[in-house]
Each structure stands twice: as structure tokens, then as C-alpha cells.
Symmetry: C2
Subunit: 111 residues, 2 copies
DNA sequence: TCCACAAGTAAGTTAACACTTACGTAAATT
DNA sequence: AATTTACGTAAGTGTTAACTTACTTGTGGA
């Protein structure tokens, strides 16, 4: 379930939508008007975002209002936290030491 | 660039790989042996993980050893943090209050 | 140098997905 | 009830990507 949210947030268009509905609760048409793609396409993205719990929706007459759902993002954060067992802090320190030994990229794979 | 990492981590197979190479530095073949899919498939996943900075690689004779790169994950976390402007805390509080008003799912979309 | 081992690369296949246009649906207006 | 407004759904298309089976590359040993 959280995996679906991760997949959902990986899409750049949905990222943009999330940013837009972050502070403002907006209608589907309003959201769509800010993009170059068609309204149905936005509708489908909104569907994904609602299904994965990243956005909530409520009806207002003939319109549908969407807004970001902080809990959804929080789930992703929690998932990433437990992802490699919260030993992140330890590994981070190791990484900081590593930084002094090598100042280049992570791997060259040029051969 | 971070977006690519997000996309990379969204894949369940790569998530599994990340977990495996989280604490142990393993060879490509060793990693592949833990999955049902073919070795080339794993090789391609490893390529993606290295390219997005989530995993590092070093050569050891004829083998190639992979291990998780905490910095990569950290970048994703940082991205999510700034994603909706760190006002997450405020929204989280709002969400906690919201919990008392509604105990059901985020949206029903059954109509 | 010839062989074996470890791994990446190429090319092709299938499925997923982000789109499109066309159509259906439901609430407000007249 | 018919119309308008706001939106979702259906069906089809092109592209991406996760796989497969072959093949190539590179390292170490006899």
C-alpha cells in the first residue's frame, strides 16, 4: 500500500499536483487548467493520488475539491525510515567520513 | 536527479535489493541468487540503483560488490521534506484533529 | 594462450502507464 | 424535463520499462 504511494509520488506530474493542492483546496477543473495536458488526464492522476491516500477529495455541488493529505506523505516517510532499519544515522556518519576519502561521484562505471 | 531516485526506489524488486545490500556488501551473482528472476535482470536493476546514487559499486577481481549508499536515501528524504515546504508539522497537527472528526478512510469514491 | 568464471550488454517481447478523444453521469439552473 | 456545468469513465495509442535469451567483455588460473 505504501509502495503504491511511492510509485504515485514518483511521477513528476503528480508531484506538481501535490504541490498545487498542498495549501489550497482546489477543484479538478481548477487544477487541470494549470497544466497543458487534458482534463481527463488530470482526473486520472487525481484518482491515483486519492487511491494511494496522498490526496483527499470531497464533493461540493457539482465540483470535487481536492487537497493534499499529509498523512499520506507521512506514511512514505515512515516507510523510508524503517526501510533500512533506522540505522541511517550510523550509516550517515560513515558516509561523512567517506566524503573525506573520495570527493568524486559514487561510481564511475566507465569501463 | 532526485526524481530518478524516487522512481528507482518505487520498484518493489529494487526495494528488495536495497534491503539486501543495506548491511552486507554483496556481489551481483550473490544478489541475483536470492531472486527468481534472471541474473541480467538483476544486473539492470543494479545499474539503475548505481546511476541514481542509491547503491555504490566497487570491483573485486572478477566480481563486483554492491552496497547501499545512505546518502542516496538521504537525498530522497530531503526532497520529501522540502516537498511541501516543511509545513508538514502544522499539517500533521491538523490531521490529528481531523482524525477525531472522521475515523474512516480518506475518500470513498464509490459513486 | 586457452579455459573457466563473473558480470555487463544487445535485442526482442510483453505489460504497464501516461496520454488522447469520445461518451456517460450527476448536481445545479432554467 | 431539458440544459448547462463539472467531472469521471471507456477505449484506444505510443512510449517506457521490466523481463527474457543470446552474446560480449574482463579477470584469474592452468
Amino acid at each position: 500500500m505504501v509502495e503504491a504511494a511511492l510509485k504515485a509520488i514518483a511521477d513528476p506530474r503528480r508531484q506538481d499536483i501535490l504541490v498545487i493542492v498542498h495549501e489550497n483546496e482546489l477543484s479538478a477543473g481548477d487544477i487541470a487548467s494549470r497544466f497543458d495536458i487534458t482534463r481527463p488526464a488530470i482526473s486520472q492522476h487525481l484518482r491515483v493520488l486519492v487511491d494511494t491516500g496522498l490526496v483527499s477529495m470531497r464533493r461540493d455541488g457539482t465540483r470535487r475539491l481536492y487537497k493534499a493529505r499529509p498523512e499520506g506523505l507521512e506514511e512514505i516517510r515512515a516507510f523510508l525510515d524503517q526501510f533500512w532499519g533506522r540505522s541511517l544515522d550510523l550509516l550517515k556518519k560513515a558516509a561523512e567520513q567517506e566524503q573525506q576519502g573520495e570527493s568524486d561521484e559514487h561510481t564511475d562505471h566507465s569501463g
